[in-house]
């Protein structure tokens, strides 16, 4: 029978909703730039269910049993790597992790050769962190399986943005309309970029507060309000996200000293008093206590969501691995 449509045939209709078959119609998770609100909501809804699962005694649902997940980290990381590893294991995946020390990149192999090698081992999900912006996208162009960006250079860190969004949604009820302040080393931060794109997509009002040396050029064109003073930036804020300040920023003449940074941009109770009373304080970790955040705020369980963020991280990564491998598990919808 010919599959060619004749004039008499009815209009073809998709027998699935949405027409693409998935509310997350992407092969990879490379970033939050241009991600649509439906896809984000879809991932967050699934992650919400995993949060409940992770709080039970039996945390593993082997829906991804038999699938292989490779965590390839070209840059040192403990928390993100652990989080991805636990997420994979809780879905029943065979999880293998590899860090720079043991990889052959040091022996001069190019990224695309590494991709070729990995491809031959037939993984089903590849989680990559790399020190160069755009490296994960380049790798994904060569890979057959789903590639998840666990941070590339200063470009993107999408799972961090998703877990931040989930934390905000659970604490505040919604993301839309919240005034969210991101403060710290914006210029060198992939977390800031992914968060800006995602929060903008979800209708939040994003403000950046940082010294001019730590803000990238033309950042206001990304749809954010830019402040340099903490009291102005924090005025009426619902959420404050602090970013980690790398100690080596003193070398490039970005800042004079940590002491001075803490004085003007460190989050203290006094500065936080400009924000709303029920302000939520977040930090992607690891924290520099007494540099970008005062200890009493970090440890204030009512306002600080820093521990919760780590918990959400596992759930969000489970959701991402789940969604990106669904096409391999046809019929076993969960």
């Amino acid at each position: 029978m010919s599959t060619h449509l004749t004039e008499q045939a009815p209009y073809p209709r998709a027998d699935v909703f949405p027409p693409s078959g998935s509310l997350f119609p992407h092969k990879h998770l490379l970033g939050t730039w241009n991600m649509d609100p439906t896809s984000i909501k879809f991932l967050l809804d699934i992650a919400d269910r995993y949060v409940e699962q992770n709080r039970q005694a039996k945390k593993t649902t082997p829906i991804c049993a038999g699938l292989t997940q490779i965590n390839l980290f070209f840059e040192n990381s403990t928390r993100t790597l652990m989080s991805f590893e636990i997420a994979g294991k809780r879905l029943g995946m065979d999880t293998i992790s590899m860090s720079t020390g043991s990889s052959s990149i040091k022996k001069g192999e190019t990224l695309l050769d590494t991709a070729d090698t990995l491809n031959a081992m037939h993984p089903d999900a590849l989680v990559v962190r790399h020190a160069d912006s755009g490296a994960v996208k380049l790798l994904s162009e060569k890979m057959d399986c789903a590639v998840l960006n666990a941070g590339d250079g200063r470009s993107e860190h999408p799972t961090q943005a998703l877990l931040d969004a989930l934390t905000i949604r659970r604490r505040k009820g919604k993301i839309h309309g919240q005034t969210i302040v991101i403060s710290g080393d914006i210029a060198h931060s992939r977390v800031a970029r992914s968060n800006i794109y995602l929060l903008n997509a979800m209708g939040a009002r994003v403000r950046l507060v940082a010294p001019p040396t730590l803000l990238p050029k033309d950042v206001d064109r990304l749809g954010v309000e830019v402040y340099h003073r903490m009291d102005e930036g924090l005025d009426g804020a619902d959420v404050v996200m602090m970013l980690r300040l790398q100690q080596e920023r003193m070398q490039g003449a970005f800042l004079p000293s940590l002491r001075e940074y803490y004085r003007f941009w460190g989050l203290t109770s006094e500065k936080l008093s400009y924000a709303k009373d029920d302000v939520l304080v977040m930090h992607p970790g690891p924290m520099n206590r007494g540099v970008e955040i005062a200890s009493d705020i970090a440890d204030d369980l009512d306002r600080s969501a820093i521990r919760e963020q780590v918990e959400m991280g596992v759930a969000v990564r489970m959701a991402c691995l789940d969604v990106l491998t669904r096409h391999l598990r046809e019929g076993s919808k969960t």
Partner: protein
């Protein structure tokens, strides 16, 4: 044997000649040309069918001698940059490069010598000896000579030999490890960026040094509005400075690196749209003197890498003329300006014996059809690598014949 190119539109930017006529070549040299000249009966006649016949194109900045690509692009003379495997910083190397193209049927190659030893910007290279051996200018190529004292001495010393110094306009410490233009795109992609000011600052300093030493100075590649403005101001003051730009800066802006496209990674980086428009204006009003291809064949091995690690550079010899002509077709400038920037001006700057239509001059000629449409296809390029950001771009104006020393070395198949 006399060769006659008849029924051609003869254009010579040096004399503003633009007539319909013929040109005769005898023994490698132009014997006669004009509207009504007698064609000897036994001449080997080529009917140009109304195509433009102009002096052979001179490309002032190539990083590799890519003969097939040059000839296919109508380029008869290439100026090789000193950043070769063996850096061109002494007279034997200059002689070796010159000897390869002298007396053989190939594109003419003139090297630029290193301005400082090892291109390191610390000690002067042997400018006098290299000049005698045939180096046409001196440059540190991809880096500016950043030490002001060294740059000053360099200009003073080169001035004695009347050697042209070519400076790369980019302040080293402001550029640092930058790979893209400092603007919205680089901020979003998270790439290390170079501000436009890095260019203007270098130009301003070197113009002062040129005025101090009285030496003429050429800027290798201008990419920004600030750069064009700095040169315009310097020329207005009467400084002896000139500059080049390349077609990719006239056609592309920072958006080309979207998606981390390393084929659009060039040095200096592609800048904002306002910079692109300012460059076109600068070319039209004569602030920018010459057009170069900055031809730099790079294999996929060094291009298919994360953006920060990938090598900069594009191939440009074959697309130089067509991309330049698009400014004529779009009415931004006129044909004579474009051809002058590719023939007479570089010949004058470098003291070459070509670049003009003149009886008795070496017959380096390019014949092209300014209207003919074609599509740039990376796979069909003759160059040794295919790293062009212009793949699949439709352009207008195609080289028909490239003639070096009276010999037709390239003919476009029609």
């Amino acid at each position: 044997m006399i060769k006659a190119f008849i029924n051609a539109r003869l254009i010579d930017p040096a004399t503003d000649l633009d007539i319909h006529g013929s040109l005769l070549v005898e023994n490698e040299r132009i014997q006669a040309f004009g509207a009504n000249i007698d064609i000897p009966a036994d001449a080997d006649t080529v009917d140009c069918e109304g195509r433009i016949l102009c002096p052979g194109l001179i490309d002032m900045r190539v990083h590799s001698v890519d003969v097939a690509a040059a000839l296919a692009g109508g380029v008869t003379t290439v100026i090789l940059q000193p950043d070769q495997t063996t850096i061109i910083d002494s007279d034997p190397i200059v002689e070796r490069i010159r000897s390869r193209s002298v007396g053989s049927d190939t594109v003419s190659v003139y090297p630029m010598g290193a301005a400082t030893q090892d291109l390191a910007g610390l000690q002067l290279a042997e400018i006098g000896q290299m000049k005698q051996s045939g180096a046409v200018a001196f440059t540190d190529c991809r880096k500016a000579t950043s030490d002001s004292q060294v740059a000053r001495r360099l200009m003073e010393y080169a001035g004695y030999f009347d050697a042209l110094i070519v400076q790369f306009p980019e302040d080293k410490s402001l550029a640092a490890d930058g790979v893209a233009h400092e603007g919205e795109v680089a901020s979003r992609l998270g790439l290390e960026a170079i501000p436009s000011a890095a260019e203007a600052i270098q130009i301003d300093r070197d113009v002062r040094l040129s005025e101090l030493t009285g030496t003429r100075l050429h800027f290798a590649l201008v990419s920004s509005r600030e750069g064009v403005e700095a040169i315009r101001a310097a020329k207005k003051r009467g400084a002896k400075v000139t500059c080049s730009t390349a077609p990719h800066y006239l056609h592309l802006n920072e958006n080309a690196v979207e998606g981390y496209r390393t084929f659009a990674k060039v040095s200096p980086p592609l800048r904002a749209e306002e910079d692109r428009l300012a460059l076109i204006e600068g070319l039209a009003d004569g602030t920018i003197d010459t057009l170069v291809s900055d031809h730099d064949p790079r294999s996929v091995d060094v291009k298919r890498l994360p953006f920060g690690q990938a090598a900069p550079g594009v191939v440009g010899l074959e697309t130089l003329l067509a991309l330049s002509l698009s400014l004529v077709h779009s009415g931004k400038t006129n044909l004579m300006t474009i051809l002058r920037s590719l023939t007479e001006t570089p010949a004058n700057l470098l003291g070459l014996d070509t670049g003009k239509l003149e009886t008795g001059r070496y017959a380096d000629l390019t014949i092209f059809d300014p209207e003919k449409p074609w599509v740039i296809d990376a796979e069909k390029l003759m160059s040794t690598a295919k790293n062009t950001p212009f793949d699949t771009l439709p352009v207008q104006g195609q080289v028909w014949k490239t003639i070096v020393g009276g010999k037709t070395l390239f003919t476009q198949e029609t």
